[in-house]
């Protein structure tokens, strides 16, 4: 189409209007015919022969002379007729050509529409708004929609074709994605309602049933890991599909269909799958599978909850078995190590596969807290583990290694409900370590105390720190003692005294035994020295906790240095004056309590490689009728022989009862103090609130038993600290 040519140069002359503007209806009809013809030509791809200017002017004139309606109506009917023809041509297209034909014709229609709109621009701007008609472009789209897309022959065929192609692609075939893109874009252009109703809705339905079927198939034949892999693949495919040839708004919808059909509907079956479900993945550390499961399940409601719940119940079950299996409880250090390993393993899983999800961390923590407290020996065992590490386990470890291990232990410590029981055992074990000098590193010891202090406060560790102070002070005292008294002491045995402050140390009352005279002398010298500088104090020898190094010469002249306990020393020194003694003799001379004496003699006479005494009869156990002889046939490869080190060991049943009883006794005043504190500030309170408050106040140390709390309240009532309220029987009142 060409515009008018360049104006020819003429003599300047004003001429009359050549074209008379007439209101002649015939004129309108003629003009319309011209335009109608043009429309057809445009559709016939013959637009090049048309004059834009002339057509524009024609349309302009029609509208100007009030023939806008005729123009509009004509446009509408002409286009409709045209489209109906186009529709037929599309309908007859065969097979794969159907879509192509549709697409081509669509392209054509758009181009044509563009041109027509330009020609009819004036009408679009004036007549259309004033008569509230649909603008030309939109009209063209609507007509296309009504006569092509919604034509009965095309409508369902279009949908079926599209869905069929998508299905083929899902089954692995390659399809013409560009064409698909074009068609879906066409539908979007026709209006989101068209896209949704005529394509998207059915698409989603068909996809749902497709994936429903596929998921059923997969779940029968695949194990969990593979099923998840397939699901992930399908999910990615659909997202890919959307990005290539569907409208972006469909992504959320189709992904939720896949998620529902493939994941949500089979969630429980998947996690519980035998031999391949969640539990197996956890056991075998299948990080990839677990990560995949996490990422897929988080897309569906309660997906992560399902995983978490199963993980929690599995952990609790396994943990429970671990802490109640008598086999596994034989060696406390092993037991705790196993706990730490389990914790490490699952920490790693949560870290690597679950993206450090806090809710999973919490589930892990609550499970551990649950089963660790099922066994009431856990506090003791954890203390023994630390004891083992500080005694030898951490030998040669770097400072960082030490910190790492102690931090891990603290994690377990935090799970304990009965922290006061741990404190009791820790004190005992620490005392033994300090007094036997068997700690691997002072720094490590202190580091542990600091950690406990940070966790539980000053009061928890003040006594422990006192123990360290005592050790240091004792050292200083001994130095001073020898500096001042060295001439007086001469060649006597060397004494090393640890002065323990009562109250800081877990000492038991110890009946005095008879020390050998040489020892007694120097002990008395020390006592007078000490009391000279610290008047007003009282010293009691703890003969059940000391050690001695003795030089012994045996039959053939072998010299050995024996490291023994104080009791053992008392026994052995008796044999300097005689070769044989009965049990009763020894008991009488040494005054050592019976159970201790029996243990002492057993380790001196019945242990292979350490039998510096000979017993008659040669039975395993010590009886009161036994006789003991100095064993001059004793041999050992070692020059220094250690007999009877006081190693911390897991307590025997009666010892355990005793400790437990002491703990219960200690708790009573703590509970009472808490009750009094609470009542002092609240004045009046009901029973349940008291129990809740007391529990809250004490939970950092232990979990008080509500029955015990009630008993303490009654005891306080009896002692007139509290009384029952006279009017409301649910309340207690504080008596100032």
């Amino acid at each position: 189409m060409s515009g008018g040519g360049p104006p020819r140069k003429r003599n300047f002359k004003i001429e009359e209007f050549k074209n008379r503007v007439e209101l002649n209806p015939k004129y309108a009809e003629r003009t319309w015919k011209v335009l109608e013809h043009a429309i057809h030509e445009i559709y016939n791809h013959n637009a090049s022969g048309l004059s834009f200017e002339e057509l524009y002017r024609s349309a302009y004139n029609m509208v100007l002379h009030k023939y806008g309606e005729k123009l509009y109506g004509g446009l509408e009917s002409t286009m409709t007729r045209r489209l109906k023809e186009i529709s037929r041509s599309i309908e007859v297209a065969q097979g794969g050509l159907f879509l192509e034909e549709l697409n081509t014709k669509w392209m054509d229609h758009n181009k044509a529409l563009q041109m027509i709109r330009d020609i009819l621009m004036y009408m679009d701007r004036t007549y259309v708004p004033s008569s509230s008609r649909t603008p030309v472009h939109e009209l063209g789209l609507n007509l296309w929609r009504d006569h092509i897309i919604h034509s009965p022959m095309i409508h369902s065929r279009l949908l079926d074709t599209l869905l069929d192609l998508i299905h083929k692609e899902r089954m692995g075939e390659v399809i013409n994605r560009g064409l698909m893109r074009s068609i879906t874009k066409m539908l979007m252009d026709l209006g989101p309602a068209v896209y949704q109703d005529d394509f998207e809705k059915p698409f989603l339905e068909v996809s749902a049933s497709f994936y429903s079927g596929e998921s059923q198939e997969f779940i029968q034949c695949c194990d969990c890991g593979n099923y998840l892999k397939k699901s992930e693949r399908r999910l990615n495919e659909e997202m890919d599909r959307v990005s290539h040839y569907l409208d972006a708004g469909s992504e959320a919808k189709i992904t939720s269909v896949v998620e529902k059909e493939m994941i949500a509907n089979h969630m429980h079956r998947l996690v519980h799958m035998e031999n391949s479900g969640l539990v197996n993945m956890l056991i075998d550390d299948k990080y990839d599978d677990l990560a995949r499961m996490y990422n897929l399940f988080r897309r569906v409601t309660d997906g992560l909850l399902t995983i978490r719940n199963l993980m929690t119940s599995y952990l609790r079950e396994t943990g429970k078995q671990l802490v109640t299996d008598p086999e596994k409880l034989k060696d406390p250090v092993e037991f705790v190590q196993r706990l730490l390993n389990e914790k490490d393993k699952h920490d790693k899983i949560i870290n690597v596969a679950f993206g450090n999800d806090k809710t999973f961390q919490n589930a892990l923590n609550s499970s551990f807290e649950y089963f660790i407290n099922l066994n009431n020996r856990s506090p003791e065992f954890i203390s023994l583990y630390v004891d083992d590490k500080l005694r030898k386990g951490l030998k040669g470890a770097t400072e960082e290694d030490v910190e790492v291990i102690l931090d891990k232990v603290m994690m377990l410590f935090r799970y304990l409900q009965e922290k006061d029981v741990f404190e009791k055992y820790y004190k005992q074990h620490l005392a033994k370590r300090l007094l036997s000098g068997k700690t691997v590193s002072d720094d490590a010891e202190r580091s542990m105390i600091v950690k406990l202090k940070t966790e539980c406060g000053y009061q928890f560790t003040s006594k422990l720190e006192g123990m360290f102070t005592d050790m240091k002070t004792s050292q200083d005292t001994m130095q001073d003692f020898y500096a001042k008294k060295s001439e007086e002491l001469g060649d006597g045995p060397t004494l090393d005294v640890h002065i323990l402050t009562t109250g800081s140390w877990p000492t038991q009352p110890c009946p005095p035994c008879n020390l050998p005279p040489e020892i007694l002398t120097i002990c008395d010298k020390f006592r007078s020295y000490y009391l000279g500088t610290h008047s007003g104090r009282r010293l009691t020898w703890q003969t059940n906790m000391g050690t001695a190094d003795i030089k012994a010469t045996f039959g053939k002249g072998q010299k050995h240095e024996l490291n023994v306990s104080t009791y053992q020393m008392c026994v052995l020194m008796l044999f300097n004056s005689t070769d044989g003694l009965t049990y009763k003799d020894i008991e009488q001379y040494t005054k050592i309590p019976a159970s201790d004496l029996k243990r002492c003699l057993q380790s001196l006479a019945c242990v292979k490689g350490k039998n510096v005494l000979r017993k008659e009869p040669m039975s395993k156990d010590i009886s009161e009728d036994d006789t003991f002889y100095f064993n001059d046939k004793f041999t050992s490869k070692l020059v220094k022989v250690k007999i009877g080190t006081v190693v911390a060991q897991k307590e025997s049943e009666p010892e355990k009862q005793e400790t437990r009883q002491r703990v219960e006794e200690d708790r009573k005043p703590q509970i009472e103090a808490a009750i009094v504190r609470i009542m002092k500030s609240r004045r009046v309170l009901d029973h349940n609130s008291i129990v809740a408050e007391v529990t809250k106040q004490l939970q950092a140390r232990f979990l008080p038993n509500p029955v015990v709390i009630k008993k303490r309240i009654e005891s306080l009532i009896e002692r007139e600290f509290l009384e029952r309220d006279k009017t409301d029987r649910k309340l207690y009142t504080y008596l100032a």
Partner: protein
């Protein structure tokens, strides 16, 4: 109301106490005289033997709850002994100056005591009366059982029966203190028996009752 008479009292015991001299009504005279019949001459109080005698005259067993009620009415402080003042207080209130009148006064006394407002006072009194030493705050289980039977047995027979069984059976508590004693009364008054459906162990019941209820429920 009796007219005052000029008859002077002749008992030496009465003269020993600083009682009213003029205007002593015949009633008081007779009350005092009655006192002397039972009182021990050296200690001027009615001792357990005297009480026993009194009881036999009243035809009431001396372990009967009515004697306890009488003691309450008198405001007796020491178990087994009635002082003159206490005797006077009690008999005057009962308007009894002879054995027969005293006997007749019993039913009314029982009614009076069992009135809830009075019973609330009588009940802890019964406990305190049993405390044999000054500093003691508890009574032994067997004594408590006896007392329970005496004081509550009529009104709350089923509960008391079971409670006594339990107290004898359990061995956690060897004595009962006042707090627990009051708890028993409250229990009988407030808790449905034998259903026990409104007993809530979360409330401030003494522990001994929690255990009792648990024991009952287990059976």
């Amino acid at each position: 109301m009796r007219r005052s008479s000029k008859k002077s009292s002749s008992s030496s015991a009465a003269a020993a106490t600083a009682g009213p001299t003029r205007g002593v009504s015949k009633e008081i005279e007779r009350i005092d005289q009655l006192f002397c019949t039972y009182a021990d001459s050296s200690s001027s109080v009615i001792d357990p033997e005297g009480i026993e005698m009194l009881c036999s005259h009243l035809e009431v067993p001396h372990t009967d709850v009515r004697i306890l009620m009488l003691a309450w009415k008198m405001g007796c402080e020491k178990q087994g002994y009635f002082t003159l003042d206490e005797w006077r207080t009690g008999l005057k209130a009962l308007r009894a100056d002879s054995i027969s009148k005293l006997k007749k006064a019993f039913p009314e006394l029982v009614q009076e005591v069992t009135r809830p407002s009075n019973f609330q006072d009588f009940y802890p009194y019964a406990f305190r009366y049993c405390l044999t030493e000054d500093k003691k705050k508890c009574i032994e289980i067997p004594v408590a059982c006896e007392l329970l039977n005496l004081v509550l047995g009529l009104q709350f027979h089923p509960q008391v029966d079971k409670l006594i069984n339990y107290l004898k059976y359990q061995n956690e508590y060897k004595v009962i203190n006042m707090d627990q004693w009051m708890g028993f009364l409250r229990f009988c008054n407030e808790i449905n028996f034998p259903s026990l459906d409104n007993y809530d162990s979360d409330l401030a019941w003494p522990l001994i009752l929690d255990n009792f209820v648990e024991w009952l429920r287990e059976k």
